[in-house]
Point group: C2
Chain length 418, copies 2
């Protein structure tokens, strides 16, 4: 029998211990979320039959069932894809100069951003949800085609510099790999348009096969999450701007709003993107990194949305640096662009220009400075969570309040229902 | 500019990825718990002044402020400590034989378990909370003195076998270390009694100094957790045993009950034990392991309460194995003993012998078999969480229901208040 059964060590939950495996806590959160909604869900199902009213859901996207403006806009977007592809083909053949190509691209990309905006603002039959969806699709297309232009230009520069096709470069080491002009096919273009990434590459890493079990699990998750989303609907504020009641309501709104954001994050960045990637055998599944551990605001913004972060780094931040811009200037430019797109995606569909989203993004800068300066470790992490839980609903609240005040104050049925 | 910015990899949340660092999710839980209680706490503070009614808290422990039966019982427990120490001293000197020593111990340990039980059952002035506290103290003392007896006996066997004090054994390699008869001092005994462990050792690992910051943080946590505990009080059931309403109420009770258990766990196993350990410069802070990741029921029981688990292994399971008992028999014996103590600590203070706690422990056996057989990975972990969230309140509900039905049904004020 051993006399010694103790040794010098810290408790696992102490910050001094190096233990960090809390996968089980994540499962706990999921179990608690499902459990606390299960009762509500069952009650509703037993009392009202089908939970989701299909007409109500459809009416979010359509006002008139015989006109589909959002769908038409999405179909029209193919025109811009063709323009980009044919410009690249001409550039590869040398029929047009680099300058002309750039001018066509500038025109094409500007129209991609302006055309849907004008349509959404002018066409009254587009609903806010339909408008946001369309603008989202066009924004993604803008970022993708910008990346497509950059990468193809880099390829041309490289072939001009080398001019020796026999050199064993990294891009030609494998037989199945495509090299520069060979990538300008319709098939390659549409693979990139549908792939869950914003950065173009001639040879994407591919997974070996489509795992049916994986696909079904992700599909199941998407359905489950939508049900959850439906049951965590928060109740919004319709009264006048009474600031003392505002703070009280804000706290009551913060938790459901945050849960909705978390479910949305999981549904979009994990389930949907993995689903699409599995279907396309797209190999790189890093759509997010461990932002839940972020101890600074900066770390959060760099890790929660990897496709956009990667794009900003590759096509905006690094090119700026190469052109001699300072580090701080480049960072601010990225942030400013991000704030612009946030505002673009919110203001245009709601047809209200209030700059709340823009200001919300800009408020991140002093906050990031404060957290990085004064808070460390778990305290920093808690501050990041708090900024997510409290900060987000403030901006949401502003828009919702203004939207209902302008649109629904005269409509007694909506005011009563909420 | 690099053309390659993708590589073959899985998403972090996928079970296929090896990433397991979710420390941030733990912080999220703490932030959410504090936030959702902060509003309630502030409201209560503003409306009613001091949150905790001191008389109400004291009345949990005392019925008559001039008689302190629980405190007296705890003071009396010193007698048993002295008996154990003096028996050991006699045994070390050889004045009494091993057999007589064992008989004294058996008598002493039996009295430790029976004496407080009889007092609690016979004395009406002891409240259930006071009774549970006293029985808890006596049970801990029982386990500690049992370990004290075993280790000292092992020491005597070892010195008889070796009989060469000059051998450079592990126990005498350091100068400050104490060897066998030298440990039988009052100071050493009381250090063991207050140390946060149930397993006696001649030379406990010691930390170098008392960190004041650490001590204050743990104290702050204890106060904070008690406030939280006060605000998550669940509402218990008082009506007749109506099974259809029971299930509905069970679900409503499960979440607050589970939160209370979690807060209790943190407060007792992390804050309090670390506080005491820091004060005593006790080095081994492993009071729990990563039970939150447990994928089987067995893993949970082996890791949530390390002091008891260590004691069972060292003084019950391994000795049984050495005496030739089978593995399954020994495991069942440990489980049976554990179920006995659970029942002892609940039934006696409530003065109700219903065997719910005993049956709850015993129900773990088929459940453990089921989970281990059919569920793997995150599903197994979710099953363990569910058994904690749902299983525990069933047993609690049974006792609470029976207690109120027998004690409070005639008292209209209590029935109304709950």
């Amino acid at each position: 029998p051993s006399h010694y059964c103790h040794k010098l060590q810290e408790s696992m939950l102490s910050s001094a211990s190096s233990f960090r495996n809390y996968r089980g806590v994540l499962n706990w959160c999921v179990v608690m979320l499902v459990l606390s909604n299960a009762r509500l869900f069952l009650e509703n199902l037993l009392r009202y039959g089908i939970l989701v009213d299909p007409i109500q859901v459809v009416s979010l996207f359509l006002k008139d069932p015989y006109s589909w403006p959002a769908a038409c806009l999405v179909i029209v977007s193919n025109v811009f894809i063709f323009v980009a592809l044919y410009t690249e083909r001409k550039l590869a053949m040398g029929s047009i100069s680099e300058k002309v190509g750039l001018l066509i691209y500038i025109f094409n990309l500007t129209v991609i951003l302006c055309f849907p905006m004008v349509v959404v603002l002018k066409l009254p039959s587009i609903t806010p949800v339909g408008g946001a969806f369309t603008l989202g699709v066009y924004t993604i297309l803008f970022l993708k085609l910008y990346s497509y232009k950059d990468v193809n230009r880099w390829c041309r520069v490289r072939t001009q510099v080398k001019a020796r096709p026999s050199s064993p470069s990294a891009s030609s080491c494998m037989q199945s790999h495509v090299s520069y002009p060979g990538n300008l096919s319709l098939r390659d273009m549409y693979y990139f348009v549908f792939a869950p990434t914003l950065c173009y590459e001639l040879n994407f890493p591919r997974s070996e096969s489509i795992r049916m079990g994986f696909l079904l699990r992700r599909l199941f998750e998407m359905v489950g999450n939508c049900t959850l989303l439906y049951s965590v609907k928060p109740v919004f504020i319709l009264q006048e701007m009474d600031y003392s009641r505002m703070t009280e309501r804000l706290l009551r709104l913060a938790v459901p709003n945050h849960l909705i954001w978390l479910i949305f994050f999981y549904c979009f960045f994990h389930s949907s993107m993995n689903f699409v990637a599995e279907l396309l055998r797209f190999g790189d599944r890093e759509f997010y990194r461990d932002w839940w551990n972020s101890e600074t605001i900066t770390y959060f913004w760099q890790n929660w949305n990897i496709p956009v972060h990667k794009w900003c780094l590759r096509h905006f931040y690094k090119p700026l640096l190469r052109r001699g811009a300072g580090k701080l200037l480049s960072q601010s430019a990225v942030f400013f662009a991000s704030a612009f797109f946030h505002e673009y995606l919110v203001s245009v569909p709601l047809r209200m220009f209030r700059l709340w989203a823009f200001m919300g993004m800009m408020a991140q800068l002093p906050l990031a400075w404060f957290v990085a300066k004064f808070l460390r470790g778990n305290y920093g992490n808690a501050a990041v969570w708090l900024s997510l839980i409290i900060g987000q609903p403030i901006a949401v609240l502003m828009y919702v309040h203004d939207y209902y005040v302008t649109h629904c104050q005269d409509d007694p049925t909506i005011t009563e229902a909420l």
